[in-house]
């Protein structure tokens, strides 16, 4: 069967090649790759359209592998659009177990933490930015969970508008 994918890659050398490794490893047959560097997304990434052929189980495995490698899949056959969402926590985020915060988010269906940046300061109030990838319809589930975590841990939550 044939499948159309849209991946989002950072606009740096080598990204396209390494994104194609799993295709070769799994024996999925590349039909076409459209890499349009003139079309840069809001966060400075480029999207790549890939058409691929192979058995259903191979294609499913391919998606898992790409996701595990931290690739952003924007579309599969035009559906399952995922979005990236960022949120900031301010407070004692280390003392209140950051690992636990990330685990709680990752435990949600289809929601994955894909980025994290923490800054400490002398006043011991640290600031952390968490980026997740999720299907657009899971946005509310994620935001509700973040509210719950922030409330339980006494953190200030700053969500995207």
């Amino acid at each position: 069967m044939k499948m159309n994918l849209v991946l989002e890659l950072s606009d740096t050398p080598g990204q396209l090649v390494s994104s194609l490794d799993p295709f070769r490893e799994l024996g999925a047959n590349l039909v076409s790759v459209i890499h349009d560097r003139s079309n840069i997304t809001d966060n400075g990434n480029v999207s790549v359209q890939i058409a691929v052929e192979g058995d259903k189980d191979i294609l499913e495995k391919l998606i898992d592998t790409l996701e595990n490698k931290g690739m952003s899949i924007l579309k599969v056959d035009g559906s399952l659009k995922t979005i990236k969402l960022s949120t900031i926590l301010i407070g004692h985020i280390i003392d209140t177990d950051m690992r636990d915060t990330v685990d709680k988010i990752n435990a949600l269906d289809n929601i994955t933490v894909v980025g994290m940046e923490i800054k400490l300061n002398h006043e011991e109030k640290s600031s952390g930015l968490i980026t997740v990838e999720l299907p657009i319809e899971s946005k509310k589930i994620f935001l509700d969970k973040m509210q719950e975590i922030a409330k339980a841990k006494g953190l200030l939550l700053i969500n995207e508008i």
Partner: protein, 343 residues
């Protein structure tokens, strides 16, 4: 030519701005609407000046600036103050610009209700009484068949209430999301551009006169929350009260949070959100380059409608002459409705 006699209650920045804009525009109003605008009484917190023939705008400002008390106005200065001022002279419209009080809304509430009972139209820049007693005030205005206009209470000179009510009446407004407090926007903008921390940036803003000595109402989101309540009631028809708004200010925002947000293409802004199921004032992440990316003391709001999609406005959110201009606009609405006969 018909006289239109106004009483100004409150003679701080906005009240003095009113004297300035009236002086600048009264000839225009004569030409356009055939009304002779006269300030017949002005009151500050403990005194007043009353003259049915009209007062001199420049002299009012000079006396207030030089002596601090309006009662020092030659010949017409007086110890009459508060509600009694409304009995001491004959006036047509009350221009009320006393300080916002979010605890019990006084003296604005009593002044407004008294003017209504006297059958007078009222234009206000106040937020406290609207945020706490919206229904009661609007009900009293209706009962007394008077006009009650409050564009200046939200967004300073930026049109938002009249925009929704007068300019977009074909639409149902489903939400308003915006930056409704200039002081906090200034502080966050400076923290972003200078990389400074909250405490130092607040001090700098106080030094520049942008933040008040007691900045609580602005930095804790109280001011923006009052505006949220006013927009909910007046534009979306939601019978919201102040306590219905979830409020978080900016005093816990760190320069590190602003820095990491910036690395990902975001800014942190104090955002007010008004919709059927959501009344909230809180710091939020907004995309750089979006409509929310405004600096300094500017305000903005995106109104989402059923027919026209999104309409976004931005403008100066505070200031003496700017806020007074919004009140003069409301006064012109009153003139058009009640005093102007087109022949």
């Amino acid at each position: 030519m018909k006289d239109l006699k106004v009483c100004i209650m409150g003679f701080g920045a906005v009240g003095q701005g009113l004297a300035k804009v009236i002086l600048l525009k009264k000839e225009n109003l004569k030409e356009l609407y055939g009304v002779n605008l006269k300030i017949v009484s002005v009151a500050d917190s403990s005194s007043s000046v009353i003259c049915s023939d009209g007062l001199d705008e420049n002299e009012l400002i000079r006396i207030k600036k030089e002596t601090g008390k309006l009662k020092n106005y030659p010949e017409y200065g007086s110890d009459i103050s508060g509600l009694d001022v409304l009995d001491a002279c004959d006036y047509d419209v009350l221009l009320e610009a006393v300080p916002t009080n979010i605890d019990d809304a006084e003296p604005a509430k009593s002044l407004t209700l008294k003017a209504f009972k006297q059958g007078k139209d009222v234009v206000t820049s106040n937020k406290g009484h609207l945020a706490l007693f919206y229904d009661e005030l609007l009900g009293a205005a209706k009962e007394n068949k008077v006009l009650f206009k409050f564009e200046a209470s939200v967004g300073g000179t930026m049109p938002i209430i009249n925009l929704a009510q007068e300019t977009l009446p074909a639409n149902k407004v489903t939400s308003i999301v915006g930056i409704l407090n200039g002081t906090t926007n200034y502080i966050l903008s400076r923290m972003t551009s200078e990389g400074t921390n909250y405490e130092n940036t607040l001090k700098e803003s106080q030094h520049l006169g942008i933040a008040e000595t007691d900045p609580t109402q602005d930095v804790e989101g109280i001011d923006a929350a009052c505006k949220t309540v006013i927009l909910a009631n007046s534009v979306l028809g939601i019978p919201a009260k102040y306590d219905d708004v979830k409020v978080e200010g900016i005093s816990n925002i760190t320069s590190e949070a602003i820095e990491i947000a910036g690395q990902e293409g975001y800014l942190i802004k104090l955002i007010a959100e008004v919709s059927e199921d959501h009344l909230e004032v809180s710091p939020r992440l907004v995309k750089k380059g979006s409509a929310f990316d405004i600096n300094g003391t500017l305000n903005m709001a995106t109104v989402t409608t059923d027919l026209s999609g999104e309409v976004t406005v931005r403008g100066i959110g505070a200031g003496s002459v700017e806020t007074a201009a919004a009140m003069l606009t409301d006064l012109i609405h009153v003139i058009r409705e009640k005093y102007y006969v087109d022949d």
